[in-house]
């Protein structure tokens, strides 16, 4: 198990380095922050001074090396907008984003998994079809369209909920529902097919032939097996939560990390963008790592892969 986790930790580190490198290069290739921040008609001396101050006049590999050195000392640079520490700028937005993503994730899992399991157990009934129609709808509809539909119904027509801002907890409901529904739909779809796959296996027939009641067959023999592929999807969703918040926070003007990212990219506020990307990459990697640990716990084959095979 230790070896198993070690390999995965190493792999995770490599992916983080690659993501951060990619973003570093793309951001610097796609626009000059000095021009964006100082304005197109700023005097050339001022622009040059800005470049020198932020080290943008250095060759890109020199910038890259000093950037990496700084990361390891925990310093991700300052926001070019207001000179504050980039990490601090990002961190102050984190609670707002968590206030959306954590309930949304709970909705994903709390609705998606039971709905998928129920649909699989009642295959081809009216309830199964209803769940699948909802799932395909939620899966196919982009979140900003769902967001606008919700605003139209609950803010504009019914007037029950606010459509934007962060004045009270009521503001969080529509964004949470938006993110929760899409993820729940995706998860229901995958859980159902994982469950159907498992229910068709011989060992389920064996368990029934042994004399177990159907509910014992489902609880003791089907669910853990179906959990193995489902956990992969949950891992993807967990990693993608912050990224998914980008769209939803923008639509609902919710001052979280996602909206900060959009603003910072258009401002070419390099340090802030890099800090956010690093954070997103780390959540993805952490989610994958959690998935790998869960795999090891759920699937005994994963553990013995690292042990010498028995004859």
């Amino acid at each position: 198990m230790l070896h198993y986790l070690g390999t995965r930790l190493l792999r995770a580190t490599v992916s983080v380095v690659m993501v951060v490198t990619f973003v570093f290069i793309v951001l610097r290739m796609s626009g000059d922050p000095a021009v964006v921040i100082m304005g197109a008609d700023a005097p050339p001396e001022a622009v040059d001074a800005f470049r020198t101050a932020w080290g943008l006049d250095q060759p890109i590999w020199v910038q890259y090396l000093s950037f990496f050195k700084a990361i390891f000392s925990g310093d991700l640079g300052q926001s070019m907008r207001d000179g504050r520490d980039a990490v601090a700028v990002v961190l102050e937005r984190v609670p707002s984003t968590l206030a959306l993503t954590v309930p949304a994730f709970l909705l994903n899992v709390g609705i998606g998994i039971p709905a998928g399991v129920y649909a699989a157990l009642h295959r081809n009934t009216a309830i199964d079809r209803f769940v699948m129609v909802m799932a395909v709808t939620g899966f196919a509809m982009p979140s900003f369209i769902l967001a606008m539909l919700l605003v139209l119904v609950f803010s504009v027509n019914l007037g029950w909920l606010p459509s934007a801002g962060q004045d009270s907890w009521l503001n969080a409901i529509l964004p949470i529902v938006t993110m929760g529904f899409g993820g729940a739909a995706l998860l229901a779809r995958f859980t159902r097919s994982a469950m159907l796959e498992v229910l068709g296996q011989s060992y389920i027939r064996t368990a029934s032939a042994k004399g177990l009641s159907w509910s014992a067959v489902v609880w003791r023999h089907a669910l853990q097996n179906a959990a193995i592929p489902t956990v992969t999807i949950i891992g993807f969703m967990l990693g993608g939560l912050v990224a998914g918040a980008v769209v939803v926070e923008s639509v609902f003007s919710w001052p979280g990390v996602g909206r900060l990212l959009v603003v910072s990219v258009s401002n070419r506020d390099l340090a802030v963008v890099q800090a956010i990307v690093l954070m997103i990459a780390l959540t993805m990697v952490a989610a994958n790592f959690v998935v790998d640990i869960l795999y090891g716990l759920l699937d005994p084959k994963m553990q013995s892969q690292t042990r010498p095979a028995r004859a």
């Binding site: 027939r205 004399g211 084959k301 028995r310």
Partner: protein, 328 residues
């Protein structure tokens, strides 16, 4: 009264009939072989009897276990029967065991259900059962997962699990098909030993007449969802009365004597949804006459305890072929 009495059982998936009226009885402690090509309904017969078919299957007829009807019975009737009175093992042992549970745990589950054993006594009984089915180092192996064992060992685990409920009848559905030839013989030997020690009945489902004839005293031959012939094993070999049985025997290599060309049965089993008129075997039968495509023949008695469903079957003549010891 036979231990299990199947009367006119039929199974259909949608409009396709899988079983077309099976009548079969198994006496207490008897070893019965069920032979036929894949898809002829051998396994479905017993899955249907135990209520293990998907809900989409339409099951008709009657299965009496000691006089109690099983077809359409409620879970409270079926669950104690499954594994407790009639246990079943399957073709592919590797996929028949749950990959995420230790084998000891899977056996203990049956002990808890049918004998109320839990904790240390259950653990001791698991080890005894694994020992009985010939798993070396049973104490350690009880903690193994199915993927850590070989196919033959997994089948032994399946047998141990079946024995856990102390059933009166074991239905072994192609128990050796997925295994190496040497392991096949070991598993068949094991089933024989267990039968001697426990007086448990056995239904051995196989496509291999040789395997069945070695283990079973009586044989039923199935074709396209019907039983076409049933008799004592010796009588099947001595006096095969259905052309299909003769075809199966002709396709079996003799273990002694001069080399001879094996005869195969031409054509293939008809699809369930396109069953021919009259006898289902007629299109492949070299002895078919005009009437064969009109009448689906009922079973006739050719000699005592020997039934054949062929309109040309006649009461016994002297044997044309003597039983031979054959190996799969």
């Amino acid at each position: 009264m036979a231990f299990v009495q199947i009367r006119d059982m039929s199974v259909a998936f949608g409009s396709a009939p899988a079983l077309r009226g099976i009548s079969l009885s198994v006496e207490r402690g008897e070893a019965l072989g069920l032979v036929g090509e894949s898809g002829c309904g051998k396994s479905i017969t017993w899955l249907a009897a135990l209520g293990l078919l998907p809900r989409s299957a339409k099951v008709g007829g009657s299965v009496l276990l000691d006089g109690v009807e099983l077809i359409g019975a409620s879970p409270s009737v079926l669950e104690p029967v499954r594994g407790g009175r009639i246990a079943m093992i399957f073709q592919d042992p590797a996929s028949s065991l749950n990959p995420v549970h230790r084998i000891g745990h899977q056996i203990a589950e049956a002990l808890a259900l049918h004998r109320g054993l839990t904790g240390a006594p259950a653990r001791a009984e698991v080890i005894r059962l694994l020992d009985q089915v010939g798993i070396p180092d049973a104490k350690t192996r009880a903690n193994a997962y199915p993927h850590e064992l070989s196919g033959g060992q997994n089948q032994r685990v399946m047998i141990a699990m079946a024995l856990a409920g102390e059933p009166e009848l074991l239905v072994a559905d192609e128990p050796t098909t997925a295994l190496d030839v040497t392991i096949q013989a070991q598993i068949l030997d094991l089933l024989g030993t267990i039968r001697r020690d426990t007086s448990m009945g056995l239904v051995l489902i196989s496509h291999d007449l040789g395997v069945v004839s070695e283990t079973c005293s009586r044989i039923a031959v199935m074709y396209a969802g019907r039983i076409v012939e049933q008799a004592e094993s010796a009588a099947i070999f001595a006096n095969p009365s259905h052309p299909y049985t003769r075809g199966l025997l002709g396709a079996m290599p003799p273990i002694s004597g001069p080399r001879q060309k094996l005869v195969s049965i031409p054509g293939s089993v008809p699809e369930a949804s396109r069953m021919p008129q009259g006898c289902a075997f007629a299109p492949r039968c070299s002895e078919a006459i005009a009437d064969c495509t009109r009448v689906d023949p009922a079973a006739v008695t050719v000699e005592a305890n020997h039934l054949a469903a062929c309109i040309r079957a006649t009461p016994a003549k002297t044997g044309t072929r003597t039983p031979e010891r054959v190996l799969a």
